[in-house]
Symmetry: C2
Subunit: 358 residues, 2 copies
């Protein structure tokens, strides 16, 4: 029950605690004989350094905060898993800051910042100016995933997304515009005339970008988006929304979904309604989660590689720690079209993008 501190092992080894500290941190500048004495004393006592005390004085915790909403869906859970692995590999730990209810990320994030995390990854919600200011002042690197700084929740507009204060946050997003264009092209080439978008009722940044991208790409070809459905929160939200969408008087013949989970809901709904995929209805997802490749689905989707995203997150954190003043950087992760069996092959020109399976 009683904690064993550096003094205990110093006393047992007959040295000062400074020496013990050096053994556990510096490694050099302590004679072999002393080191052995210290090590064996520490082992006998089962001593391990207190990270709280160490972090306090070193001003470095080896903790990284992750602000995230629900991580139940496939993409987010793999993201968390991959990020945690990448951090573990570098001796860092992940401190989870769950933002609840899709609101501003402040409360959860601030709570994690109080633990003096070395960096924060924000993959949920929107950051209020206060949170930005605090991060900027304390000087901890912030990497936004799937959003850019100072987004307006309602109608994000990339051109006008100027941060309200000089807040240095890097952001990493999928190339949503390109993905939406690939999807639109494939649907059109496949002969779809009534194209719909399926997004979430609580619109996140990427969701909006994908919808806008689809709209713009259709407009460029002289077409309009026929319908939009929004997924309500809850377990069967995607399925229900898809049912509504497909039960309309004039149902769409092609749906682009904000992510693969939503697309799976569409596939389920189509099956329930007896709608043939891809002949009567083409479906395209986003993310390329593992399940999309299952033989039972073979979902056409936009591949958004998680490992690449995580690598970039880590790289941005390191870069900003090395040079806190570097200008904020927006990174678009390139996406690829994965043509599988939920879309018709174009009757006209061949597909623009290769769809080699990895």
């Amino acid at each position: 029950m009683e904690r064993v501190t550096i003094r205990d092992v110093a006393e047992r080894a007959g040295v000062s605690n400074a020496t013990v500290s050096r053994v556990f941190s510096d490694a050099h500048a302590v004679s072999p004989v002393m080191r052995d004495r210290v090590i064996s004393a520490a082992e006998a006592l089962g001593y391990r350094p207190n990270m709280l005390a160490r972090s306090l004085i070193r001003a470095k915790t080896n903790l990284v905060a992750l602000a995230v909403g629900e991580t139940k869906n496939a993409y987010d859970s793999i993201f968390v898993d991959t990020l945690a692995d990448a951090l573990a590999e570098r001796g860092k730990h992940l401190l989870l800051a769950k933002v609840r209810g899709g609101g501003p990320v402040d409360e959860a994030l601030m709570g994690a910042l109080d633990y003096q995390v070395d960096a924060a990854v924000v993959a949920a919600g929107t950051m209020t100016p206060e949170a930005c200011a605090r991060c900027a002042r304390v000087g901890i690197p912030v990497v936004l995933c799937g959003r850019v700084p100072a987004t307006l929740p309602a109608e994000p507009d990339l051109e006008e997304a100027v941060p309200p204060l000089p807040f240095l946050a890097d952001s990493i997003l999928a190339d949503n515009g390109a993905g939406a264009r690939m999807a639109a092209d494939l649907l059109i080439r496949g002969g779809c005339r009534r194209i719909a978008y399926l997004g979430r009722s609580h619109r996140a940044f990427s969701d909006s970008e994908r919808e806008r991208g689809l709209r713009d790409s259709l407009a460029a070809q002289g077409m309009a988006l026929q319908a939009t459905a929004r997924i309500a929160a809850g377990a069967d939200g995607a399925y229900d929304a898809a049912l509504r969408l497909l039960s309309a008087p004039e149902p769409p013949d092609g749906v682009f979904c904000m992510n693969d989970d939503a697309a799976m809901g569409v596939l389920q709904a189509a099956q329930a309604l007896g709608i043939a995929v891809p002949d009567e209805l083409a479906v395209i997802g986003f993310d390329n989660i593992p399940m999309a490749a299952w033989p039972g689905f073979r979902l056409t989707t936009i591949d958004y590689p998680i490992s690449r995203t995580v690598e970039t997150v880590i790289a941005r954190i390191d870069a900003r720690l090395a040079d806190p003043a570097r200008p904020p950087q927006v990174t678009r992760i390139p996406v690829r079209l994965m043509v599988r069996d939920t879309t018709r092959r174009g009757t006209g020109r061949p597909a623009v993008t290769s769809h080699k399976e990895t």
Copy 2:
């Protein structure tokens, strides 16, 4: 860049730092006028207490470690999500300790313990006696999920599972025996004669219990397990293992799977091989993940309620914090059979267990 400390706000408010501290912790025992002065000074400076320093002296971090392996699969990711929510609700944060490669949980867990977490939840790997000893000595509550203390990795034997030291860890597991019995009964009633089990190549505790439960239940009815397949690590492991299992010269006509993810692999493989479910092959999973209820799958499975598990985890932590000497407690979470469409209804007696959908 410069941190604002308690002294800064004390100076600005013209009080001692003791007073500032009291405002941010005790709340009482400080006069209203002082409190206002302090609050406004703190706001002006953007002060927030340093949790490292606070935790150091209070010997309480409000951090809970979660030792976990891969969280990519549905059950584990929902578990993490639910646990993090439950902790957030009580003002605690989750520190992720990823154990990599399925080995002993030590390295990852110890790393998290160094941050003086208030409690640890272990949902992966096996704890070595050293890790147990350390937890016992430091006196932090440990709750094991899906395993009991001092399990032998190879062949866990509940009867002999005596902890090597007086290590007080509570454990929470599904009632795997009951679940396996329900599955066996349903398969037999459905007329299956060649029953197989699908588990993981790296056998975890629950995996072994479920296999043994199936074996015992079959034996009780004078039947033997026909085959066992093991899922290798990797994305398509379940699918590949199922393919092997179903391609055998005399393939099984009923499979009980260690979890729903594995069962999904079986369904995919059956579809790929043109095997009719449930007529030629009955499939039962475990966990009842949301996807199992999707109209495209309608997987018969054993419901293992996550929220109940998480509630129990929290309750055990609280109980042990309140009374560190209480005897360790093994809790079996009751499971329910969810009969859906991947099994045949029994031709004989009616089902033993109700299968009302929630």
